[in-house]
């Protein structure tokens, strides 16, 4: 039996604008949007990274379980770190999000952990976005009540907050394109979040980028 197809929570809202698709991690993703331009990165651009595999753990034994999977965890609550190529975010005291990089094995190692009484697996099929460009902060200031400018990318800070009325986790990350922001939300709100942000981004003179452009600029 062939591997079942994963479907991005943003597929429905992106399909009308997609120029080219590509399979990433068994998920059809938009390689390029019609009329997209990397010049948008000079203003503000958003992209979809939902194809990356991710999972979560919570409970008193979550940190130890992640260590058993060979993953380091952030020392502070509401922060993130890189471990074995994966992004490990600590959401509160005892909840963690693990997102693999392309071809990574961190998620599969976590999923293979034996059941434990004090560890609770949290399946994560989020809509996962990236926001980049010098006016990224301005986008947040039109959509979110938290000052993302205070998030220290080097220090691995993240914020759990609400954006356009949707619960989101936001992390500031250093990339070759400068400081950019990762945004995760429940996939069922993903279409609404994407559409709304695209509307604001467009008003600001920015745009949205497919996975090929995101990859080229190191996002």
């Amino acid at each position: 039996m062939s591997t079942p197809v994963r479907v991005s929570p943003l597929t429905d809202v992106q399909v009308a604008h997609a120029a080219r698709w590509v399979d990433l991690e068994d998920m059809p993703s938009v390689a390029a949007f019609a009329g997209e331009s990397e010049a948008h990165l000079a203003v503000v651009a958003i992209g979809d990274l939902s194809f990356r595999r991710r999972t979560g753990l919570k409970g008193p034994g979550a940190a130890a379980a992640l260590a058993d999977a060979g993953l380091a965890t952030p020392a502070r609550a509401n922060s993130w770190c890189r471990s074995e190529g994966a992004l490990v975010a600590r959401l509160g005291l005892t909840e963690y999000l693990v997102e693999d990089s392309a071809g990574g094995t961190a998620v599969s190692r976590v999923l293979a952990l034996p059941a434990a009484a004090d560890v609770y697996p949290v399946p994560r099929y989020d809509a996962a976005l990236v926001v980049a460009g010098p006016q990224a902060i301005d986008l947040f200031r039109q959509t979110c009540a938290v000052d993302m400018a205070t998030l220290d990318a080097a220090g691995g800070a993240l914020a759990l907050t609400s954006m356009v009325g949707v619960g989101v986790t936001v992390a500031a990350v250093m990339t070759p394109a400068g400081v950019s922001y990762r945004v995760w939300c429940d996939g069922t709100y993903g279409g609404y979040l994407w559409d709304t942000l695209c509307g604001v981004v467009q008003e600001m003179g920015g745009g949205w980028l497919g996975s090929e452009s995101l990859s080229r600029v190191g996002l």
Binding site: Q142, G165, T188, Y189, Y192, T196, V200
Partner: protein, 965 residues
């Protein structure tokens, strides 16, 4: 009136001429002109009509509270002429006139003023008989502006912003505060409602260029400072907890969150109260200075200044420099304190008259100022024997100030009345709130700059956690406000509140009628309730009340200053609309199949699927038929889906649900309900036991978030060893139902679907086309069926796979309406449709689901009590006679017994499988027995007979869940 030579800091751009219309006549303006300044420069002095008596009015303040000069600007109404800038092509009309400003047909109301006493509205409505007449009249006459219901939806951005120190007011003290805070290392936002920063530092000069230069230097430094952002034309409209201040500009509202706030909001100059103090040509001294220095407009040719402070003398000097003939400076004080400004005025040959005030202003034939009568005035009483008439076209009022302390009040500042200053000043400021300048009772220019530095330094110290100090602030040398700027006159028309045409006698009458408290006085007289919200009237009203009741201003107190203290466009309050919508992973599949979506909480769910050429009802009945005869699929991914794990998971669920969850066998499911502490049924769902310590359960769509939140709260309280995981968005779910469902599913799964291996109400975990899945055999719609739960990212793939596999069996989707009909045929209730906020399980025959013998569960105590009490109502099934063709009852139609309300319908459908209308209704218990008859009152008032019957209506033996031998 005319344009003056170019002023150093004027706001107008003389290189750009604009053309506009006002009241049907053409005028020209310079770019940057306010409507009022442009008209005044063109010689127009009557710019509007007063609210109540329709008296001619002109410029009062030029400070955003000239509410008698409001204009209709196309679809925008009540634009304030004193601050709204002229645009090329504007076509303006004054609001609140009948036939135009010049020939207002209801100006006769001014002569009827004796018949329109204070509290007229209240008195008019005393009589029930005359109420309709007064209502019609008031509705016809009152109201400002013309609302155009075709005005398009104006989209304004929503915006948040942040800073360490927010400085409100960019006059000398605000600029100084911003610089001090920024120099100390704080990020500063400096906001000013005026089109340009600088405040009074650039228009109250007293002929002294050094005063202007000091402000210019501060402004230049602020503009260049890397840590200062200046927001001009931006109003700080309110103050909320945690330093949250909405900033309103022309395009949007910004929600500013600051670490500390410095209020440098200044003071409102107050009118002097004398007869006819509202004639066009009588204005505040600061308004004349604004006209001169901001718009380069000469305010009048021959002016009398009435004053009681040094500001009046500086004003006289400014007028003199602008080429105005200053005829006299009438000072209410018995003795004029010596100061440089007084000496300078005298040196210019201007007559300075101590102990003198304006007794009366006189109008010309157009109702505009033509002359004043000056008298010696003692404590507000004029000695008419000293009367002296002076012809003039301008009176400048400069007898006192009221602090612009609205935001300070909102922040919780305790204010005190300073007798020496004759002003309320901050007594105890809240944490992280600071005040400086005039609002802080500091009026001298050097003192304001020093006070700003002090406040800015303190704010920065608070935010940055540093110990910082600033130089001391010099003390005030004189009172800037007169304690009684009121001159009595037997013929009244000495106005206190220009918004509401309130005269001194109105306050006297109100107090005489018993409204002798400031809050009561406000409501009875409506003082301060007009568009300017008391900016120019509250302080005088307070002084009058104090004198009438023998109290000091401190004892009288002030009224509550509520946010927003200044009008804000509705479009700004709305901002960009954020209405989160939740969409199932299968949303696109439904849309492609022609779904008509309906809202279900935050979700959009398919109500039914359109088939070309068929009606809605036929489409729904086709979907029902497909479920009953073939196989069909519905998206149930909107159900709440929660997992609970841990050694005490069963104990937790036992406490939350009314059933014995600990007895649920591994691989089994159970329908269960939960109640609140009062025993009210709050939610329902199916609980599946996946392992000894792992349970997976569903909740209603609308209840999911509340159930998860409440469970998380209870878990934190009970501290049981278990964890709750909300999987509502993480799992996609469908219900595959119908006689052929196993034929569709069987080839795709590794699970044994036989009744023996996978019986009714069992749960199994396996895979479908390689997709990991949890399957529950449920019977909500009364057919053999499987509720299939898979990871959300595989939902669409599962849907496509099942639809493909079901093609040979005629598979199709069914929507919420078909599901509601199918479940009704089985007599299944829907929580929140067939229950309400008072329904307990015994009323809906769910006694079997409540295990009162458990040690504890939420609501148990209440349910034990309710169990002992007779039922007041009971949910029962009913049917209408077969072939009934009259008006069909609807949900919530009432059951009537003996002319009284006895119950209501909660669900009703025509059932193609039962052959008649069937439904559920709350009935009196004595009526809820099969065979009883009752009547339902429908919309047109007629009665429809119905009969109580057993449920389920369809397949009462549940044969459809059993394998045929």
């Amino acid at each position: 009136m005319s344009r003056l030579p170019q002023m150093p800091d004027e706001w107008v751009d003389r290189s750009k001429t604009l053309r506009f219309r006002f009241e049907g006549r053409d005028y020209v303006a310079f770019s940057g002109d306010a409507v009022s300044s442009a008209l005044w420069a063109s010689g127009v002095r009557t710019l509007g009509r007063s609210f109540k008596y329709h008296r001619p009015r002109g410029i009062l303040s030029m400070a955003n509270h000239d509410v008698n000069v409001m204009v209709q600007d196309g679809q925008r109404h009540n634009a304030r002429g004193d601050v709204v800038q002229v645009r090329d092509g504007m076509d303006l009309t004054a609001v609140n006139t009948w036939g135009g400003v010049a020939s207002d047909k209801v100006r006769f109301l001014d002569r009827l003023s004796p018949f329109l006493p204070v509290g007229f509205y209240y008195k008019a409505f005393y009589s029930k008989r005359w109420f309709p007449m007064w209502e019609r009249m008031f509705r016809a006459i009152t109201g400002l502006g013309r609302l155009d219901t075709n005005t398009p939806h104006i989209h304004t951005p929503k915006r948040y912003d942040f800073c360490d120190v927010l400085v409100i007011g960019a006059g000398p003290s605000g600029l100084s505060a911003a610089l001090a805070a920024a120099d100390a290392g704080a990020s500063v936002a400096l906001v000013d409602e005026n089109a340009r920063a600088g405040g009074s530092g650039l228009y109250q000069l007293g002929g002294d260029a050094a005063r202007r230069q000091a402000t210019r230097e501060l402004l230049a430094k602020a503009r260049q400072h890397e840590r200062i952002r200046i927001f001009e034309g931006t109003l700080a409209a309110a103050w909320y907890a945690d330093q949250w201040v909405p900033l309103v500009d022309a395009d949007k509202m910004t929600k500013m969150r600051a670490g500390a706030t410095v209020m440098a909001s200044g003071a409102f100059e107050q009118p002097t109260v004398f007869r006819n103090n509202d004639l066009p040509g009588v204005m505040l001294g600061s308004a004349m200075q604004r006209l001169i220095y901001r718009y380069a407009v000469q305010p009048a040719r021959r002016v009398v200044v009435t004053t009681a402070n040094a500001d009046g003398y500086r004003l006289a000097l400014d007028l003199f420099d602008a080429g105005v003939q200053v005829l006299a400076v009438a000072d209410l004080r018995e003795a004029i304190p010596a100061c440089a400004a007084v000496d300078a005025v005298r040196a210019r040959g201007i007559d300075c008259l101590p102990g003198t005030g304006v007794y009366e202003a006189h109008a010309d034939g157009r109702g505009e100022l033509a002359a004043v009568t000056l008298c010696k005035v003692r404590d507000g009483v004029a000695e008419t024997s000293t009367a002296r008439r002076i012809d003039c076209d301008g009176v400048a009022m400069s007898t006192g100030w009221a602090p612009a302390a609205n935001l300070l009040y909102q922040a919780g500042t305790k204010m005190r009345f300073d007798e020496r200053l004759q002003q309320f000043v901050p007594d105890a400021l809240p944490e992280a709130v600071f005040a400086c300048g005039r609002v802080n009772g500091v009026f001298g220019l050097d003192a304001r700059i020093a006070d700003g530095a002090r406040a800015g330094t303190a704010a920065a110290a608070h935010v940055l956690g540093k110990a910082l100090s600033a130089p001391p602030v010099p003390a005030e040398s004189e009172a800037p406000s007169h304690p009684w700027p009121v001159v009595a006159h037997p013929s009244a028309k000495n106005f206190v509140d220009f918004d509401e045409d309130l005269q001194v006698k109105d306050f006297e009458n109100a107090v005489q009628e018993g409204y002798d408290n400031i809050e009561l006085l406000k409501r009875f007289t409506t003082v301060g309730m007009g568009p300017s919200q008391g900016k120019h009237s509250n302080m005088t009203a307070l002084r009058i009340l104090g004198r009438l009741v023998g109290k000091s201003p401190q004892q009288v107190g002030t009224t509550t200053a509520r946010p927003f203290f200044h009008p804000v466009p509705m479009s700004h309050l709305a901002g960009r609309g954020f209405n989160p919508q939740r969409r199932s992973p299968l949303h696109g599949r439904h849309a492609a199949l022609g779904a008509v979506f309906m809202p279900a909480g935050a979700w959009e769910r398919p109500e039914y699927y359109v088939v070309a050429g068929k009606s809605r009802t036929d489409c729904i009945h086709d979907e029902v038929r497909r479920v009953r005869t073939k196989v069909a699929m519905i998206d149930v991914g909107t159900l709440g889906k929660i997992e609970i794990r841990g050694p005490q998971a069963a104990e937790f669920l036992n406490r939350v649900y009314t059933a014995r969850i600990d007895l649920l066998k591994l691989g089994g499911t159970r329908y269960a309900i939960m109640c609140d502490e009062s025993g009210v049924l709050t939610d329902e769902g199916v609980i599946a036991r996946l392992a000894d310590d792992v349970y997976y359960f569903t909740t209603t769509t609308s209840g999911a978030a509340n159930v998860y939140r409440e469970m998380s709260r209870l878990n934190a309280e009970w501290r049981l060893q278990c964890g709750i995981i909300n999987l509502t968005g993480a799992y996609s779910s469908v219900n595959l139902a119908g006689p052929d469902c196993r034929k569709v599913l069987g080839p795709l799964t590794d699970l044994d679907l036989s009744a023996a291996a996978f019986p009714y109400l069992a749960v199994r975990q396996g895979s479908i086309a390689g997709i990991p899945a949890r399957l529950m055999r449920v019977g909500f719609v009364g057919e053999w069926g499987y509720e299939i739960h898979v990871p959300a990212e595989y939902g669409p793939t599962l849907w496509d796979t099942l639809m493909k596999a079901g093609e040979p069996y005629g598979i199709g989707p069914f929507g919420v309406e078909a599901q509601r009909l199918l479940r009704l045929e089985k007599g299944h209730l829907i929580v929140s449709q067939d229950t309400d906020g008072l329904t307990h399980p015994f009323e809906v025959s769910m006694d079997w689901a409540v295990k009162l013998d458990k040690p504890f569960f939420v609501g148990q105590r209440s349910l034990k009590i309710l169990k002992q009490m007779p039922l007041k109502r009971k949910l029962a099934g009913f049917r209408l006679p077969a072939g009934y063709s009259g008006q069909v009852p609807q949900e919530c139609h009432l059951v009537i017994v003996g002319g009284e309300i006895a119950g209501r319908v909660t669900s009703i459908y025509w059932s193609p499988n039962v052959g008649c209308h069937i439904g559920l209704a709350f009935l009196p218990p004595e009526l809820a027995t099969p065979g009883s008859r009752f009547e339902i009152r429908v919309t047109d008032g007629s009665m429809v007979a119905a009969e109580v019957c057993e449920t389920p209506f369809f397949d009462p033996e549940d044969l459809r869940q059993k394998e045929q031998s």
